[in-house]
Symmetry: C2
Subunit: 298 residues, 2 copies
């Protein structure tokens, strides 16, 4: 199955996300101006917007209103950007480059970067509450719950803690997978499920298929991220390359070697496609996104 | 009007909050164990629980189910505790003592304290979404929105940014008030309004009275906090006393002098009582809480 319009669609969604993010964040002159300016610095000006793309593709699947989807996509992206601002802090990964720009604490200061992350997380939940995003308000509360669980101590934040504790250690594959299911996978899964929840309800079989797809793509994303850190250049990635091995972080490359990691990414891509089979043709954009996640070079 | 049972009621609410917080946070052995242990360290073992007390008193006003109120009170307290864990970090206020114990980053480490705050904020929104807390789900979404706006860049996090930028400066009274309305007042106001929203709807006049009460108490709380930092001892406060002047922070004491700040606290207490007049007898517990906030010694 080919998806000839995929690149154009991706560009449109990315441009739309840039515009929506710019609109939902307070203007840079509103007090406290430095904080709002720094939030905009952190969130605007690029990024692949993988999570929004997944939300949009999942929303197409359920014939969701795209204005609803852009709002939930924006909420998920706010959580992602908050996590980057905090992860880059000196007490965490201590990184100076992100999306080709100095990280938030380098451009501003540590305290501001901390508050940028805090306020972006809050904004995510504000966005999920202040607009009508589902036919039933109960479904919308379910979105809040999904995002909170995905971002919290048993999701993304927990994964980050495991990551910190794993530095300098060798992890067995199941431990590595446990870490990444939390650190990256949970939010990617939430993007897919919340995007879909904006539209018509899925039946149980469809939802299970979508969930399996989301989990496969989430893991594939991380395997490819590890490969790119190993193979890529700082210029292409827009962030510091080779950081994982320098910091002694366990990765799929260190655990499996690059050739097997490449195979694993392809297997997960196959899993994602297979999961979509239950959904029929409607999953074509999600299928293209699985390809994009695995084949990307940045 | 006297409130003979106030002290007993306060003790009951405080004990209940300790139990509810202990229940809603993942157990300390659940992975990632260090993060969950540190979250429990940050949130359990005391604190005045002023915001939960306000939520409970406001819930009594609207005849709210107390199980609903304990959940929203817990959500607001999670946001408060997250803000303490982040504010105490070296890049912020750099404090080592809180509630009579070493601060989270001293007891654990900076990265863990950062993640503790992040995960407690997330937990707050999870709590507001995963239980039935209002008769109408739309009211519950309104609670999520209220808490998010109160905690975000135009509320608590914004107030913290203004606080950081004000260190070493002299602020005029309106600027000082602007800072504190954000930093402390917004979350206190949210505690009152969200607690009330668990029960029967208030009419417009009642809601306006409650809002005016909440704003007066929020500001009174900060004026008294500044006075206690100036007059109190580290042993009584359970946190470092005299910190404001040492760090060159503008306070009500530095702006007005202690005698006038004491008067202002009493005036705000009067405002809070006057605002309750529109609510009649039902506001007696809220009135006692306004007294407690102003007369407290810790």
């Amino acid at each position: 199955m080919t998806d000839a319009g995929f690149d154009a669609w991706m560009g449109e969604v990315q441009a739309r996300m840039e515009a929506v993010l710019a609109r939902v964040m307070p203007a840079a002159h509103i007090a406290p101006a430095r904080l709002h300016e720094a939030m905009r610095y952190a969130a605007l000006g690029g990024g692949k917007r993988v999570r929004p793309l997944l939300a949009f593709a999942a929303g197409e699947l359920t014939a969701a209103d795209s204005v609803r989807v852009e709002t939930v996509a924006c909420a998920v992206e706010c959580v992602h950007v908050y996590s980057l601002a905090h992860d880059d802090l000196p007490c965490m990964d201590d990184d100076v480059l992100r999306r080709g720009k100095p990280t938030v604490h380098v451009e501003y200061d540590e305290a501001t970067a901390l508050l940028v992350g805090d306020a972006l997380q809050t904004l995510a939940f504000q966005l999920l509450a202040e607009h009508r995003l589902a036919d039933e308000p109960n479904v919308q509360l379910e979105m809040v719950k999904l995002l909170a669980i995905a971002a919290g101590s048993r999701g993304m934040a927990g994964g980050q803690q495991i990551d910190l504790e794993s530095t300098g250690k060798t992890l067995a594959l199941p431990e590595l997978e446990f870490m990444h299911i939390h650190k990256t996978g949970a939010l990617i899964r939430a993007a897919v499920l919340i995007g879909a929840a904006c539209g018509k309800p899925l039946d149980e079989r469809e939802r299970a298929g979508l969930d399996r797809y989301a989990k496969a793509v989430g893991l594939a994303f991380q395997v490819v991220d590890d490969l790119l850190d190993y193979e890529g250049s700082t210029a292409t990635l827009g962030k510091t390359a080779g950081k994982d091995s320098k910091q002694g972080k366990p990765t799929y490359v260190s655990a499996l070697g690059a050739p097997r990691a490449r195979e694993l990414a392809q297997e997960l891509r196959g899993d994602a496609h297979a999961a979509l089979a239950t959904l029929g043709l409607r999953g074509v954009r999600l299928a293209s996104l699985a390809d994009f996640v695995v084949l990307r070079k940045f």
